[in-house]
């Protein structure tokens, strides 16, 4: 009887150690971010710059998921307005050598956009609490920054959602 109990305790300890030490143990969980860019009826419309990134609860950057900006302009002219994504610029952008493969991308049209968070970004996550940031800034327009908290590893049923009011529509984070 005692040996069975001991075995059970050891097994429990070992399995939690495995969980603690190996983030890859949860690699079968994936995250999807949905971002709605609202259609605005304004005289001068430019597609917004948008940064999607993950920080710890103290706003320290953990990984960048996507940054959408004018990547096609000559002489990296499109970089000029990246500091308008103020928090992302402070926490990440200003340290980066842009463009970043797999992160930098062209601006997107109004509508719903679904992004699967790439494996390498998930592998950077250790067990703990995080914030997914979605920050948007539009030329001659406004700025909006939404935050979706989550824990990692994520439960398969995870669904966080917020409704933007200005530069963003509905944003969602779900795990599956």
């Amino acid at each position: 009887m005692r040996s069975v109990t001991t075995f059970a305790v050891i097994f429990a300890v070992l399995s939690s150690l495995v969980l603690l030490m190996s983030p890859a143990a949860q690699a079968d969980t994936s995250l999807t971010v949905e971002v709605e860019i609202p259609r605005l009826s304004v005289a001068e419309y430019h597609r917004p710059y948008i940064a999607i990134w993950v920080s710890d609860p103290h706003q320290q950057r953990v990984s960048d998921i996507e940054v959408w900006y004018d990547t096609a302009m000559a002489n990296q002219e499109g970089h000029k307005w990246l500091p308008d994504l103020r928090q992302w610029w402070r926490r990440s952008g200003r340290q980066l050598d842009l463009p970043v493969d797999g992160v930098s991308g062209a601006t997107r049209a109004p509508g719903n956009h679904s992004i699967s968070v790439r494996e390498s970004a998930l592998q950077a996550l250790e067990r703990g609490d995080y914030i997914l940031h979605i920050e948007a800034a539009r030329e001659v327009g406004g700025r909006e920054h939404l935050r979706l908290p989550f824990s990692w590893p994520a439960d398969a049923g995870l669904l966080q959602e917020q409704q933007g009011e200005h530069e963003l529509g509905r944003v969602r984070l779900h795990a599956h």
Binding site: E77, G78, H79, K80, P83, R90, R94, Q95
Partner: protein, 280 residues
């Protein structure tokens, strides 16, 4: 109008300001350098900067800041050209190309002895004359032998601001060890509303204790009061500012003591910096 009382407390400072390189006949006026952006990105971004002396912070309505002692340096310490330099009636303006990443310092600084005296006929004398550069070697000869009430002070003055391309860097913001200046324990281009910034004032490389500091946010024209905040530095020259509103700020510090090299009997410093505080 609220007048900066700390200036009035020290009559000599008023005189010294009058005589300094930047000609500022009325000591209530404030000298400033105003960048249109402090946080920049991209390939060799450019920024434009104004310099003026005025009553209302960042409203150029009195006198242009003289450009002859104005310098800009990049993070490697190399001097950078002031492009398209223009001095008008009310302001000096110029552009900078930030060819290298990092923090740039734009400053006008001077340090030297200033003498004031009364001549035998009752008239007042001063050296150097208004708008003239310091010349410490000539100061003893400049004061007449029969002068009375001779007061010689070592005066330092610095007006500066900072801009950054990419990530903020530390090299350019380090103090020079001369005059009244600031040690930025919080980087001047990394100030955010809701956070607390740590600053330290130094006089000739030593902590400047009991220095008086005032802080005024831009836009005073559109409010009834100056809403200036006052600070006094502690024994290590330190003070901290908790930002409760984003905006462009003008910070001015003044310091005085009696620890001056002969023939000066007093040492005075004035320091002004423009700081941008970004919203979260």
């Amino acid at each position: 109008m609220k007048i900066n009382t700390s200036v009035f407390k020290h009559g000599l400072l008023a005189a010294a300001v009058c005589a300094s390189v930047i000609s500022a006949p009325a000591f209530a006026h404030r000298a400033w350098l105003l960048p249109q952006s402090t946080v920049l990105a991209g390939d060799e971004p450019m920024v434009t900067i104004d310099g003026a002396i005025s009553n209302s912070i960042f409203i150029a309505d009195y006198h242009a800041l003289r450009s002859d002692s104005l310098e800009a340096h990049n993070n490697q310490g190399a001097q950078v050209e002031l492009q398209n330099l223009h001095t008008g009636r009310f302001r000096t303006s110029f552009d900078l190309t930030l060819a290298e990443p990092g923090t740039y310092r734009i400053a006008s600084a001077s340090r030297g002895m200033t003498a004031r005296w009364q001549n035998s006929d009752g008239s007042r004398g001063m050296f150097p004359g208004r708008g003239q550069p310091h010349n410490d070697a000539a100061i003893s000869d400049a004061v007449p032998d029969d002068a009375e009430n001779v007061q010689i002070g070592l005066m330092s003055r610095r007006i500066e601001t900072f801009v950054t391309a990419g990530a903020p860097t530390q090299q350019t913001i380090a103090p020079t060890g001369e005059g009244l200046e600031m040690v930025f324990h919080t980087h001047p281009n990394d100030l955010f509303n809701g956070e607390t910034a740590q600053f330290q004032l130094m006089i000739d490389g030593e902590p400047a204790s009991a220095a008086e500091v005032i802080l005024i946010k831009d836009g005073a024209r559109y409010r009834n009061q100056q809403e200036e905040t006052e600070f006094t530095t502690d024994s290590e020259g330190r003070f901290e500012v908790q930002w409760t509103e984003p905006g462009m700020y003008w910070l001015e510090a003044s310091y005085q003591d009696e620890r001056a090299p002969a023939p000066a009997t007093s040492r005075r410093g004035s320091y002004a910096v423009t700081l941008e505080v970004l919203p979260e």
